[in-house]
Symmetry: C2
């Protein structure tokens, strides 16, 4: 007997039905915002990831040499691929470009709760606008998607930060500080002790006193962002603070205000972010890790050889999202239903098939026996697939030129003339014949 | 600038929209038949494919060793995976098991028209029924899916054959004939000369006279299948002929009769088929290769370590299917439409955002400016996304406590009091205010 690989999953229909409902809802919300679906390959050249993230990324990739001698990798994320696609058709695509797609990605990493080696994400991105309204639209999409899944503002929050505030403050301490390393330290700060955190900041070039002060500054609340501008005294921090405030204002207009909390300590691990970044957290803290995140990455397209093109996006992952939805008790129930089961007794296939075809042609979900099973076995099956109505086509019914229509909820049934079923009824049920 | 890999494709929204429409239609038809969606991994152990198809299959696979030292392969087809999944939960799953899924697969092979290294298939399978009605349901699903995509019986045909008739005839000639090799020769027969075909049959163990007679026998028409029974004089051929006739009768009841043609020369390349097999062809011959195929594979589950479980399925591939749909001129047009574009002039974001939110909450597709663009640029964008109605929120409109509603088809527009838009109209258009 074969088994699936560690970190990979088989989804049987019940679980898949719930997952499909969640994916459909994420995509329907994106569609309402005017995002358009794209399709992307599962393999890319490994070099693309190395250029973007450094040689060490290869350790996390399903990377190999293909039969043609190319170094290729199974895509660990979508952003480099969409950046490549934007660059390839930069002239033809009208801006802003708004794209959505849902698909699996692969990373060779430790398997843990809500984290697998094969994982699904819905990526939603806007290219070609540096305006705060674009960041706000991404936040509003994310909030709308979550509330349409049944979550309320009690259940989740978006912790919003700004890369350029962090970078500007660090620069104000010391222009030689290694910003990337320091921001990675901020990203890790919640998972390590304060001492370890400060050690990392010192390694990045701050003194211990500066590290403590930096830590204090990041704890500022939304009303006192001006203190950061005063401290730094640079245009960079002033502009970044203004941009963050503009994004929060626009997010409020677009209906996402109540879900946003200022949290400069939220840094997002990825190096390519440049402006507003945010992470979605479970408000109860029961799901302890970030559920998903997003932000602005204005330099990536240019670094891929394109014209400067601002970009902002978010990528909810299905596995961590399912933890939040399950914790909040709004993970979808099994949703599979069957409108009709057409039951055959004896040699009645031709009539049963005719009824089945007619009901299907009216758009209904209809099953009939394909396994030569007994009355009882067919009834069990009909029950198992949540059939609403069973149409019994028995030899005796047919002698009366009739079928028996059974409501599976009440168990009531009635013989109905064959000429009247389904007749002109678009979606006939027992009630139509009582 | 990076490029995608050879044989892999980027789908931009226009093309993706058409593909999505086709996939949705295939899946909607499957759902109407009671098939339930499953989700499956992109990687499996290479050994599974080697066990099923022999060591030589590895040459066609994207196979490699993962970081944990496992020999893995990107899945080249779904059947082994679903067989594995059926075996893993054989006791729990109620029969018949009816599954559907659409996803990419990967094979390292020559790229040609309609054939890529990454390709999408919709797999539809029934496990647990050996009855002819199961084969017929697969044929009826395939026919329904194609006609719901706009094809007619003039456009395509299902060439139906039976593995056990081929095997039984070969056995009747000579019990030592190598059946697999001979059936592979039949599968190739349309692509090679008659002499080459006969050479291959002789290599498989027939004499040249037998090869010619075998060739003649396969040309029998549906009314004279009894000639094959007479020729062979074995229960095996008699049972196979009866089964084929029963499947064709059942297919006729289920509405697929008119699309089916007997064609014993159709053999399907894959070794694991055991009963009825069929391939869909373009009736005009313009698409020269088989569009897709399917059939019965009753032995696979057992060979995977499960209990004997009959199985039958079909797997339309999107690339060859798109060739047929395009040839028949029914490939979907770009389908993306936008219900509303809410246009901002001046500092009107709060009102525009409020209208946008209200319209979205009623289920509509609504875009508004996220890029600080001019009136003209916004109008161009609205036109580019096929907006049906543009709601102009100008500073002057707001001074009159109004917005301007513009029908993009006629170009007509009207100022409407803010209090009345969208008001109680579920889907307000200019006509509601004229």
């Amino acid at each position: 007997m074969y088994d699936h690989l560690k970190g990979f999953r088989d989804f049987y229909p019940d679980e898949m039905g719930a997952r499909r409902e969640v994916i459909d809802q994420l995509e329907a919300t994106a569609r309402q915002y005017g995002f358009r679906e794209i399709g992307t390959p599962a393999l890319e050249r490994t070099q693309m990831y190395v250029d973007k993230s450094g040689e060490e990324i290869v350790e996390e990739l399903y990377a190999f040499e293909d039969k043609g001698g190319r170094d290729v990798a199974m895509t660990p994320e979508l952003t480099p691929t969409v950046a490549r696609m934007v660059v390839a058709k930069q002239q033809e695509l009208s801006k802003p470009i708004k794209w959505v797609s849902t698909r699996p990605f692969w990373r060779y990493e430790q398997v843990q709760q809500g984290r697998f080696r094969e994982f699904y994400q819905t990526n939603v991105d806007i290219f070609g606008s540096s305006e705060p309204e674009a960041d706000a639209e991404i936040l509003a999409f994310a909030a709308d998607a979550l509330t349409s899944l049944g979550l309320t503002g009690e259940e989740f929050e978006f912790r919003v930060s700004h890369r350029d505030i962090l970078g500007g403050l660090l620069e104000a301490f010391d222009t030689d500080v290694q910003t990337k390393e320091a921001i990675r330290a901020v990203d890790k700060s919640e998972k390590i002790s304060e001492a370890e955190y400060h050690d990392l900041l010192v390694e990045a070039g701050l003194t211990y006193d500066q590290a403590a002060e930096f830590d204090d500054l990041l704890a500022v609340d939304a009303e006192n962002l001006d203190e950061l501008v005063e401290f730094a005294g640079t245009d960079r921090v002033e502009n970044a603070v203004t941009n963050l405030q503009n994004v929060l204002d626009a997010a409020a207009d677009f209906g996402a205000g109540e879900y946003c909390t200022l949290s400069l300590e939220t840094a997002r691990g990825l190096d390519y972010y440049t402006g507003v970044v945010f992470e979605c957290f479970d408000s109860t803290g029961e799901v302890s890790r970030s559920v998903f995140g997003g932000g602005r990455y204005d330099d990536l397209i240019e670094s891929f050889g394109g014209q400067p093109t601002p970009a902002v996006g978010v990528a909810p992952g299905l596995a961590p999202l399912s933890l939040l939805l399950q914790r909040a008790d709004v993970w979808p129930d099994e949703s599979f239903t069957t409108d009709y089961y057409v039951l055959q007794i004896g040699d009645t296939r031709d009539v049963a098939a005719e009824i089945t075809r007619t009901l299907r042609s009216r758009g209904h979900v209809v099953e009939t026996d394909v396994a030569g099973r007994s009355f009882g076995a067919q009834m069990n099956y009909a029950d198992g697939v949540n059939a609403e109505t069973v149409v019994i086509v028995g030899e005796q019914d047919l002698e009366d030129d009739a079928v028996t229509v059974k409501d599976m909820d009440s168990g009531d049934q009635e013989q109905v003339p064959l000429a009247e079923f389904p007749g002109d009824h678009d979606r006939p049920t027992l009630a139509d014949f009582e």
